[in-house]
């Protein structure tokens, strides 16, 4: 018999998902401690970002720290609590990290854009420092000594003169009676006293991951649940005309089929629609689905053919577009003639292909729904489900287990809505499991793009005019049926922020229609913009007969702050202020010089078929320079023996985790440069699994990636994404150095290198 082991709902929650702990943290945080810090009219803006619901101290001294951002491998679930523990002066071994459910009182939980640390470093410090000050005050009152004479050691308040000591747990109840300190009363530790910040710590989940105990969204189970596999419309927006479910229903374990309506445009985060096969285990649902016969009305997007679309994009890129940044007069320089070079670049759609496909478990009952989902954005889950089910968003409880990768895909909760809709219809909890084929064929794809570049070179070989045009279907198309124009958020990413010291400079863009869902993918528009700009910089260096490194430094020019708003008024700077996060060419120069020096640029004798390439890029407010070394065999086989990456991300909380991110970014960059390509024929995506959409394997990835982190006290910036953009151009510049072949289109798998 099928011996189904019941993992009880209660056990699952307590062991893994911590609603118990969430309640616990509220109970253990003395009410008064946080009451004054709750969102209020007068401090609404500020409070939304740091509601100080992040911390609880138990009477036994256990410190509960709430991780409110999703953990998908960047280690923010460890690094942010570490910041709080630092200012609390907690002993990390006595800290329990508890994952938050989706709730606006934590501030933004949308874990993308590489801003977990950037936005929550300060709120975490304040939460920790507030609690520490209250514990110190409680001890000083008990001992009748001046507060100023009391200090903390890990998990203790100490009065040195009398030798008195008290643990945080002993003091928690008394501290709870005290008023919350005002912000200006808070004292932060000097960096010299830091135990965790800048030193870091391994992932809180490390042992659980290595022993198979860690619970991912894919692992969620509750009593009475059934499983669903969904046959999605083959073309975006297609509708079910008819279907035959006789064969699926004959599969043992399959109980029913359910039609999910195709979305009304714009698709936003809505389910695609389709036919769900419900069964008592995942395999039966998948097997039943394969036997389903469906006829579709494919609709307008069946016209999408990638080969033709590419030509359209390229034709558009050759024509003037809308200037997103303009300084000087490029046209006036170009009409003068002289040495003018032009080049066109192209990058295809990409799929995210996180190792865990989209998955969600939902339990709808009595107008409420509880969801366990691999999601980067639990509040978007609440909003989307509320809309689709016609219930208030407070009626949606979203638990966030670990994510088996996200890369931007899991910011969009369409699959969570599928689970909720199905649970309501079935009357039981439903777990929707996307197959790998679903994941690759029905993604929110990284967009396809064409770039046109033109430069006039002066007597010294440096550009006197630089024109760049990009054309791509915008992410805006996901939210607006007429959203063909690129947004400032996309154009800031490596286009309007170009740091080159060129007197006449114009960055243009033209819109394009979208025929598949377009979304964010790790570093987003930076990927294609950096590919074009950094490859073209290398082309200019070659045309000028100058060394790539020396030329790149000259192109960036002297140390200065670029007043980008003058020529690109809409430039958003990733939401950071230009005072805190200026575009600083000194930092560009520093990472270039550091990566070059460490790589041995110009000092190594390279053999036949060997070459080094360099690229620099600032994204998510972090400066990264990458040197890639390649070997290309006579047969055209590519090897990447070494990568050197220098990173200036401002203050780095967790250097080890940061190194891991940049090592991983080199592999991610390798995947997209070598293999990444999604195409469509008559609106149907051609790729479906890792055979047709390969990603880098160990033997194809860089052998050694060295990461150098610049010591900095500048405000912290992003580390999850910024390693990706400079990689592909540095790789292709290295291939040019090794072979003389200039790569202007990705992926490399389409190009013969020999």
């Amino acid at each position: 018999m099928n011996n189904i082991t019941n993992v009880s709902r209660r056990g699952f929650l307590q062991g893994v998902l911590s609603t118990g702990a969430f309640v616990l943290s509220v109970r253990l945080v003395p009410e008064v401690l946080w009451a004054a810090d709750a969102p209020s009219g007068s401090r609404a803006d500020q409070s939304a970002l740091h509601p100080s619901v992040y911390l609880g101290v138990d009477n036994d001294g256990t410190v509960y720290i709430v991780a409110h951002r999703s953990e998908m491998g960047t280690t923010s679930r460890t690094s942010l609590p570490l910041v709080l523990a630092e200012e609390l002066d907690a002993d990390w071994s006595r800290v329990r990290v508890q994952q938050a459910i989706g709730d606006p009182r934590y501030g933004s939980q949308d874990t993308d854009g590489s801003h977990s640390i950037r936005d929550f470093y300060q709120p975490m410090r304040e939460a920790g420092a507030s609690a520490r000050l209250m514990l110190v005050r409680a001890a000083a009152q008990q001992w009748g000594v001046p507060e100023a004479e009391c200090v903390t050691e890990p998990h203790l308040v100490v009065h040195k003169a009398t030798g008195k000591k008290a643990g945080f747990g002993e003091l928690a109840a008394a501290a709870a009676q005290l008023p919350v300190p005002k912000k200006d009363e808070l004292k932060f530790k000097p960096p010299s006293a830091w135990r965790y910040v800048g030193k870091g710590h391994g992932s809180y989940d490390l042992e659980d991951i290595c022993t198979g105990k860690a619970k991912f969204g894919m692992d969620a189970r509750i009593d009475g649940m059934v499983y669903a596999s969904i046959e999605h419309p083959p073309v975006l927006g297609a509708k079910v005309k008819s279907f035959d479910d006789k064969a699926p229903l004959q599969v043992k374990g399959v109980s029913q089929t359910i039609v999910i309506d195709t979305f009304t445009p714009p698709h936003h985060f809505q389910p695609l629609g389709g036919i769900a096969v419900i069964a008592d285990n995942t395999w039966s649902a998948m097997k039943g689905r394969k036997r389903l016969k469906a006829v579709w009305d494919n609709g307008p997007h069946a016209v999408y053919n990638s080969a033709e679309f590419k030509k359209e994009l390229q034709a558009t890129a050759r024509k003037p577009g809308k200037a997103a940044r303009n300084q000087g007069d490029v046209d006036a320089v170009f009409v003068q003639g002289g040495k003018v070079i032009e080049a066109e670049y192209y990058t295809p759609h990409l799929a995210h292909a996180s190792m865990e496909p989209p998955v969600a478990l939902a339990d709808y009952r009595d107008g409420k729904v509880e969801v366990w989902a691999s999601t980067q954005n639990p509040q978007a889950v609440q909003e989307t489900l509320a809309q689709k089910l016609g219930i208030p968003k407070e009626a949606v409880t979203c638990h966030v287990p670990l994510l088996g990768g996200g890369f931007g895909r899991k910011s969009k909760p369409d699959y969570c809505a599928e689970a909720a809709i199905l649970s309501k219809k079935v009357g039981r909890p439903v777990k929707v499991v996307w197959s790998r084929e679903d994941d690759i064929r029905f993604d929110y794809y990284h967009t396809v793009s064409a770039m046109y570049m033109k430069a006039a070179l002066g007597a010294d070989g440096l550009p006197t005019a630089w024109l760049q045009r990009s054309v791509f279907p915008s992410i805006g198309s996901t939210f607006d049926v007429n959203g063909t124009a690129a947004g400032a958020g996309e154009l800031q990413q490596g286009w309007t922020d170009l740091p080159f010291n060129v007197p006449n400079l114009r960055a243009e863009n033209s819109g394009a229609a979208a025929h598949v869902r377009i979304g964010w993918l790790r570093s987003v528009a930076n990927i294609y913009h950096a590919f074009a700009a950094q490859s073209f910089a290398d082309e200019c260096a070659h045309a000028a007969g100058r060394d790539s490194l020396e030329y790149l430094l000259a192109l960036v020019g002297p140390a200065r702050i670029i007043d980008v708003k003058k020529s690109a008024p809409d430039y958003p700077n990733y939401g950071g202020s230009l005072e805190d996060y200026p575009i600083d060419t000194a930092r560009y120069r520093h990472v270039i010089e550091l990566a070059a020096e460490k790589s041995g640029w110009g000092k190594q004798k390279l053999g036949k078929g060997q070459g080094m390439g360099i690229a620099v890029h600032r994204s998510f407010l972090t400066y990264v320079a990458t040197v890639v070394q390649v070997e290309v065999s006579d047969q055209g086989e590519l090897r990447i023996p070494r990568v050197d990456t220098a990173v200036d991300a401002g203050l780095v909380i967790n250097p080890e985790a940061t190194r891991n991110q940049f090592e991983g970014a080199a592999v991610f960059g390798t995947s997209l440069a070598r293999f990444g390509e999604i195409t469509a024929t008559n609106g149907v995506v051609d790729q479906s699994n890792f055979d047709t959409y390969p990603v880098s394997r160990m033997n194809e990835a860089p052998y050694q990636t060295n990461v150098y982190i610049v010591q900095s006290s500048a405000p912290p910036a992003g580390v999850g994404e910024p390693g990706v953009p400079p990689f592909a151009p540095a790789l292709c510049n290295a291939i040019f150095a090794a072979t003389g072949k200039r790569v202007r289109e990705l992926p490399l798998s389409r190009i013969k290198l020999a």
Partner: protein, 151 residues
């Protein structure tokens, strides 16, 4: 009725014999440490040991698992952590961690067969296991560390 041993426990199964072992482990036995990644033996996330050898449970049917001894990540080591698990932690291999059960099971199998694997051995055996986060360099270092030669 299919008989097999899973992590030392005798089990019987009378479901569809074409059900992949992966889904039996995950859905029926709640051994969720073994992951689903591709369903086609292309990524290695589902790697378990069958009679001591690494196999892809996503394409191994229950019929083919019949009569064998299966070991999953949950029971890789009967006393404490396996040397591979220890070195994985020392080297801080995981990022998201989803593929790491499969990586660890594959690496443990490699080290059983080759106590001092060369880079080429490691490439040959580990290139069947995809890590989308890109932790390959640390996986290689951890395997070498577990083999006793500090990378």
């Amino acid at each position: 009725m299919i008989q097999l041993k899973v992590n030392g426990v005798q089990r019987s199964f009378d479901g569809e014999p074409d059900m992949p072992l992966l889904w039996y482990l995950r859905d029926l036995l709640a051994l969720t440490g073994t992951k689903f990644g591709c369903g086609m033996a292309l990524c290695g996330a589902c790697t378990v040991h069958q009679n001591g050898k690494a196999i892809r449970s996503c394409i191994t049917t229950m019929q083919r698992a019949a009569g064998s001894e299966i070991r999953t990540i949950e029971d890789l080591s009967s006393n404490g952590l396996h040397p591979v698990q220890k070195s994985w932690m020392e080297v801080n291999v995981p990022q998201c961690g989803y593929c790491q059960s499969g990586q660890i099971m594959q690496a443990a199998s490699l080290l059983k067969e080759k106590q001092k694997p060369t880079d080429e051995d490691i490439d040959d055996v580990m290139s069947g296991n995809i890590c989308r986060c890109g932790t390959y360099q640390r996986i290689r270092a951890a395997i070498k560390a577990a083999a006793g030669e500090r990378a």
